[in-house]
Structures are given as C-alpha cells and as structure tokens.
Amino acid sequence: MILVIAGRELRGLWLSPLAWTSLAVVQAWLAWIFLILLDEFRGLQGRLVGLEHAPGVTDLIAAPLFRVAAWCLLILTPFLTMRFSEERRNRTLDLLLSSPVSVTAIVLGQYLAILAFLLGLGALTALMPLSLATGTTLDFGKLLAGALGLSLLAASFAAAGLYFSTLTAQPIVAAVATLGLLLFLSVIDAADFGQNGAGGLFRYLSLFRHYDALLLGLFDSADVAYYLLFSLLFLGLAIRRLHDGRLRD
C-alpha cells in the first residue's frame, strides 16, 4: 500500500512542472559550478605535482560540488514536501484517511516518493564527477561516501519538510517553516560556544558537520546514525501529528 501511494505521488510530481523545473534549474546551476571547479583544478594542477599527500580530483572537484548540491537540496526540498498541506487544502487527504490505509503507510508513501525524486537528483549530480573517470583516476571510496552523505542529507530534509507540511494547510507556510529549520540547523555550529557543553551539542546538531566528515571520506557510523535518527524523529512526529489531527482538525 505504501508503494501504491508512493507511486501516485511520484507520478503527480512528474506531471507537475515543479519537478521538471527544479531538475533543470539544479542541473544547470551545478553544471556551471562543476565547470568552474574543473577550471580551478586545471590551474592548480601544476603546483600540486610536487606536494606530498596532495588533494586529488575527488577532493577538489567532487567534494565541493557535493557541498553545493547539498545547499541546492536544502532550498529545493521544502517546496517538494509541501504535499501534505496541498492534500489537506485540496481535500484529497480525506480520500487517504477514509481508505483502509494506516497513517504510517500514508506518511511513508509520501516520504518514499520525495526521497526517490531527490535521490534521482543526487544521482544526476554524481554523474558529473563520475564523467571524469574517463580521463583520470577517481577515489571511488570518497565519491561513494559523499554520495551516501548527500542521500542521508536528502532523507533528513525530506522528513523534516514532511512533518512541517502536516502542521498547516498552507503549503507556503510549510515550505518557509521547513526552510527556516533547515537553515538554522545548518548554521547552528557557527556560533562559538567553546568545545564543551553547549558548543559540543550544537556541533552535534549541525546538519552539515556530519556531511563534511563523509565528504572527506571519513565514514563514521555516528554520522550516519545522526541522519537516520533525524529522519526517524520527524517521520514519527508526522505520523503522530496526522493521527492526532483527526482529533483536533
């Protein structure tokens, strides 16, 4: 049943200009960044030759590209996750709620659809540095770690966005609130609170700190756990909220 719902959501996404527009815009923007990075690398190449432990193509092109891609997703995801608000506004939520489908299945169905779209976007992004493999040697381990990081980040963004869209029938409000939370969690470690106590906590909460580690090729299960917990938390909240919504509404 989850797949039936996800299938419809995905179909709806492809039938709307939103999906195509976001794909086109993100791809064009990332392609441009990719070209700039490539150009910079060519300039640096000569000086890197003599260095010991010199950063390679993957570090200088793939990692920065993935970092930019993450910001693109951060801005884009809230607009894709407004679905629940739209469902409530168009009254199609009534169809789902009156069907013999659990609230969990409804939320997971929507989540899977958004995730599938975002992963597709991520895969297209990963193709750019992969294309370099035809002319040079890539560090596939690092590339894989980076792609994993981007996927986990997308999963977290989508979960948070979905939760906010269960809170309101106004799609734009849901999008803005999601964007606000994601931006806040991105810069939460910017303020210097020292190494211990609050500073440590804020660094742990930061969405991007765990991502940076993965981009460097440092695979730490704690980082992966952070994203999984983050996603689970917001999915759980969304399910609870939708369940309780039948009480409040």
């Binding site: 179909r11 709620l97 009156s98 069907s99 013999p100």
Partner: protein, 313 residues
C-alpha cells in the same frame, strides 16, 4: 431486519473547543435503506459523516460498520465504507481513469481488479466519455460524479455521501438520484443535504439534525401515511375576511395566519375543502389569488423543528 444492520452509531459526540458540534447521536442503518441526513447549515451533518468515514475521530461514542468497530479495527471498518466528502477528493493532475484506479487500489484491490472496477463504475456514473480527461478540467457536475464514482468503486456495503447533488444541473441531478436509488439494493446509503426535495426524491428514511442533536427520525413511508391522514390547504386572498369568518368554514380544524392575506387551513382528510373555499371566495369577493394543497409535511416538520430553538435563544 436486525441481521442486516450495516452501521450502528452509539452516543457519538464531537466537540470543537467548548462547543458540542455533534451531541450524543444514536442511529442505525440497515441494508436497503437510504438515510437522509437533513439539517440547516452548520448543524453537524458533515462532522457526523466525517466521523463515520474515519477522517475525524469522535470524542466519545462508538461507530460499528459492518460488524467492525471503527476505533478498534479501523482497516476492516474503512474497507466497508465508501465516502464522498463535501468537496470531491480528486487529484487535479490525474485523469478520471487514473483517479478511479488509484481509489480502488487504496481500498485494497489488485491492479487488474482496479482496472475493471474503474471501468464498471465509470459506466455506472456516466463517465465513460471523460475517462481520459483530467479531473481539473472537468465541470463541477462531472467532478461530483467522479467523486461518487470513487466512493463506490470498491463496491462497499456502506456508502456515505456528503451533499452529493450540490452544483448539479437538473438533468444531472436526475441521473445522480437514479443512481443513488439503484444503490439501495445491497447497500446502505447515508446522504446529507439541506434540501428537503432531495430527501423526498431519494431517501427511504429521514433524520433531522439540529445543533448536533437528532431531533427527528422516521421512515419516509410513515411520514407519508401521516400526511394522508390530514389535509392542508394554503390560500392567498387579496381581500381577506376576518379570521373568524374563515374559521366558520365547514370541516376546517385549525387556521394559521401567514400574513399578507395568506392562510394555512388544516382540515379533515378526504374533504374537498378547495371547493368550499372557491365558492365562498366568489360569493364574498375575497379575491382569491393562491390556492395550494400542501402535502409537504416534511417541510413543516423541518421548519418547526429547526426554527423552534431559534426563538428560545
């Protein structure tokens, strides 16, 4: 009869803040019944139906659908219900075919079964010609039909329709009423409306709800019997005589002054009061301009019941 009970509602209550929108509602629906939920706007009709469909959770009370408790066993209970909300729940970007197939899949039908169910229901609701059109491009009347079609696509024993004929033109209205009438066999139907004509045209039973409370419930047939047991004539006179003179007319039991020269005369059944009135009107120059036999007992009940409280408030 009791073996065919499809819906049993006990003590259903729902609050919005302090206000009780639905207050201790009790009723049952049996197979073959078309239950008309009648009430002024804001009486709690939609809230009740939303609770029946499982979209809204009740604050108190029990709903049993086809033997399954809606709270303890929501999946099985919802499987037995088809629901058309006030606004048809249609995805604007889907075609009618896709919408109906998706609705069927949501109700647990397989891929092939969904396709044939969608085709069947399309035929039944007169949607064959628009199967490939987008929901968003359909007129209100057609959207309403798709809404009904998605509610019955899985052939549920209980069908809940919230204002099914709103926005339809008279011809479509006739079609939908015929369709609802056909559904009676093998199903139980609950529909809400604020139109009395609707109830009279389609329903077997009527319930009047006011401020969340059930104030009247009766089979339509017994209502018609009662109607036949008494007569009522509405007249309008340009130059009305004093009320006492009207009271003198033979076989008039009670008179209601409606103002502006209009009166409602209650009389014993099987008396041709109109003839008497005509004769007197001509002889005494009352200048008669309206003479209407009033059979609409339901209307009077509705108005009396729903207005009664307003005067108290």
């Amino acid at each position: 009869m009791s073996g065919d009970i499809l819906v049993r509602v006990e003590g259903l209550t729902r609050r919005y803040g302090e206000q009780r929108v639905v207050d201790d509602l009790n009723f049952t629906l049996a197979k073959g019944q078309i239950l008309g939920f009648l009430g002024p706007n804001g009486a709690g009709k939609s809230t009740t139906l939303r609770m029946l469909a499982g979209v809204l959770a009740p604050d108190a009370g029990r709903i049993v659908i086809d033997g399954h408790d809606l709270i303890d066993d929501p999946q099985a209970a919802k499987q037995a219900i088809g629901y058309l909300p006030e606004q048809p729940p249609l995805y604007q970007e889907l075609t009618v075919d896709e919408q109906l197939q998706y609705s069927a899949r949501l109700r647990g039908l397989g891929r092939a079964a969904s396709r044939s169910a969608a085709a069947r229901v399309k035929e039944r609701c007169g949607l064959t010609a628009v199967g490939r059109r987008l929901n968003g491009s359909l007129s209100k009347g057609y959207q309403q039909r798709v809404g009904i079609a998605q509610a019955i696509v899985h052939d549920p024993p209980v069908i809940v329709l919230d204002e099914p004929t709103v926005g339809l033109d008279p011809l479509q209205l006739q079609d939908i009423r015929t369709l609802i009438g056909e559904l009676k066999a093998g199903h139980g139907v609950i529909l809400s409306t604020h139109l009395l004509a609707e109830v009279r045209a389609t329903c077997t039973d009527v319930q009047i709800i006011k401020a969340g409370r059930l104030v009247y419930a009766s089979p339509l047939a017994s209502l018609q019997q009662r109607q036949a047991a008494s007569g009522c004539l509405r007249i309008g006179l340009q130059a009305p005589p004093p009320l006492a003179a009207l009271r003198q007319l033979p076989s008039v039991e009670r008179i209601e002054d409606l103002g502006e020269g209009r009166f409602r005369l209650y009389h014993a059944p099987e008396v041709a009061l109109h003839r008497t009135v005509l004769e007197h009107a001509r002889a005494e120059a009352w200048d008669l301009w309206e003479l209407t036999p009033e059979r609409a007992d339901l209307e009077r009940i509705f108005v009396e019941l729903t207005l009664a409280g307003r005067e108290l408030e």
